[in-house]
């Protein structure tokens, strides 16, 4: 059946905005990355690959921010996926109490990153923070820390906050995945006398692979988007210990006014994300089974 040509009109308003405010800037990042533009003056010149050379060779802060971002990503991806999976299994039954708990664990997701940052700034505060207070009154004063001020652990403090923020959302995705597994598989396995570990290993885990793919892919993207949280909680400090790629782009562009260089980092950033996404899908797809 022939569809009237008017169907093309349905794309116009959305496509116009999307082209202007998403596609055009994304492509022009590439263009600016070959220039020395400062973002303000009208004239700038082309400097070839100089920005890329600087990023790859001479800029230790950039390399550090890539390292921090990867460390943050691995910690969050592993820890958050584990927490979400374990608690999804604990709360899989649809009882009233489990509904309530799932809703409670999901709750932080609806808060703004700035609010979450303030909450955890208070928890981690070295002087009047809850965490050090609790450690002191329970006689573990020797464990007190400057959780965000100590460059060796600040990135983990941030990663823990990120897990607190988003694990509930991943838990819900896993619960939906668990509910999609046919019950008769479990009954058959029990009749055959399978142990709980065997059931998990042979039924739950492989059939949960699609949900795990979603959770890990989403967690990874979120780790790269953690800009708001890092910006509001540490601003990348102390001494660049929590600088991630996106906060570094912001600093280079809007504090150093080096738009050309910031654009080059943005292009590299996009390439890193594309590469990691590709690897993930290769690895996770290969683990899929169906019964």
């Amino acid at each position: 059946m022939k569809i009237p040509k008017s169907i093309y009109l349905f794309f116009i308003p959305g496509l116009a905005l999307y082209a202007l405010f998403f596609l055009f800037p994304t492509v022009s990042a590439l263009y600016y990355s070959f220039t020395d533009w400062d973002g303000i003056s009208a004239d700038y010149s082309f400097i070839g690959l100089e920005n890329y050379e600087k990023a790859a060779m001479g800029d230790s802060i950039f390399l550090k921010s890539v390292g921090n971002n990867l460390e943050f990503m691995f910690f969050v991806a592993i820890f958050q996926t584990l927490v979400a999976l374990v608690f999804a299994i604990f709360l899989v039954k649809n009882t009233k109490f489990n509904y309530f708990l799932r809703a409670l664990f999901f709750f932080p997701t609806i808060l703004s990153s700035v609010s979450v940052a303030f909450i955890w700034a208070f928890v981690y505060d070295p002087n009047l923070g809850i965490l050090n207070h609790l450690l002191t009154i329970t006689g573990r004063g020797f464990l007190t820390q400057n959780w965000l001020g100590n460059g060796d652990i600040a990135i983990y403090s941030l990663a823990f906050t990120q897990v607190w923020f988003h694990a509930g959302q991943m838990l819900i995705i896993f619960v939906a995945g668990l509910h999609a597994i046919p019950m008769d598989l479990y009954e058959a396995a029990k009749m055959e006398g399978a142990t709980r570990w065997q059931i998990f290993r042979k039924i739950t885990w492989p059939l949960l692979a699609p949900s795990a793919t979603i959770v890990i892919a989403y967690t990874t993207i979120q780790s790269f988007q953690a800009f708001d949280l890092v910006f509001a909680l540490t601003g990348g400090g102390p001494n660049y210990a929590t600088e991630i790629i996106s906060t570094y782009i912001y600093n280079v562009a809007f504090r150093n006014f080096d738009f050309g260089y910031a654009s080059a980092i943005s292009v590299i950033f996009m390439a890193i994300i594309a590469l990691i996404t590709y690897i993930q899908f290769k690895v996770l797809r290969s683990g899929r089974v169906s019964y």
Partner: protein, 269 residues
């Protein structure tokens, strides 16, 4: 079984304690917070922080800005995304698939990637310090996820529906507005919730485009409070509470849709 209950209890405490702490601290003075950060002071709780924050800050203005930006961004994203989803569903050929890919590519690109050229674009269009500018950028940034969820839903509608409507003489606009939209309401409401949370809480775009207090949204205003109040947590948490109230109320009443919306937005396997 014991371990399971214990672990769940710990997790519940980890969520509840910070939340209770925010509420309690907003009802305490700074001295009371210093003396005992977790306890309830003997001399009672106070509402001074709420009075002070409304006196010292243009809270009502920030609240209105956030509401205007969120309402317009959500409704226009939904409107444009559902039109595109309808177009893709009806075309159902390589052109439709190509457009679907073009739009959903945007989901994989974090908004921080193009913040530099986007900033130059918005300032050259004279749309900085403008709620309109914020709304336009918001719409284009959430169109991908909207198109993704709504196309997924509309593809499940029976083809006969479109054919029967066409035979009855309905044009595209009539089929879209009279048939497809009413049938898509569950998916639309889930998407709406997802978009509400995203736009209400967004910091990046206001941070990039707004410097004038008259146009600041709540998350950006909160960030400023950090500069003014430093570690005056009672004031900061009063701000957090006011900024979170609309989402919390929506969450309590529309919980089912939140869970559906916030997870459908993430399903891109």
């Amino acid at each position: 079984m014991f371990f399971r209950r214990f672990a769940v209890l710990i997790y519940a405490i980890l969520i509840l304690v910070p939340v209770i702490m925010v509420v309690l601290t907003s009802l305490k003075t700074l001295e009371q917070t210093f003396d005992n950060p977790l306890g309830i002071p003997v001399d009672g709780l106070i509402l001074d922080n709420f009075r002070n924050i409304f006196q010292e800050q243009t809270m009502a203005g920030y609240f209105v800005n956030s509401s205007v930006v969120t309402l317009f961004s959500v409704s226009f994203t939904l409107f444009f995304a559902s039109m595109i989803a309808y177009g893709i569903t009806r075309l159902n050929n390589w052109k439709g698939n190509g457009l679907f890919v073009l739009f959903t590519v945007g989901m994989m690109v974090p908004p921080q990637v193009n913040m530099v050229p986007l900033y130059s674009l918005v300032s050259s269009l004279d749309l900085t310090n403008s709620l309109l500018g914020l709304i336009l950028v918001n719409i284009s940034s959430t169109l991908p996820v909207g198109v993704f969820i709504l196309t997924g839903f509309m593809k499940t509608l029976p083809k006969e529906l479109f054919e029967a409507s066409t035979i009855d003489g309905a044009g595209n606009w009539q089929i879209f507005s009279k048939v497809v939209i009413p049938l898509s309401l569950p998916s639309l409401s889930a998407t709406a919730i997802f978009l509400f949370v995203m736009h209400w809480n967004d910091l990046l775009y206001p941070l990039l485009f707004i410097t004038d207090n008259a146009y600041k949204t709540l998350p950006l205003a909160l960030l400023d409070f950090q500069g003014q109040y430093l570690t005056n947590y009672p004031m900061l948490f009063t701000g957090v509470l006011i900024a979170s109230v609309p989402m919390v109320i929506m969450y309590i009443f529309l919980q089912r849709y939140f869970v559906a919306g916030m997870t459908s937005g993430s399903v891109k396997g």
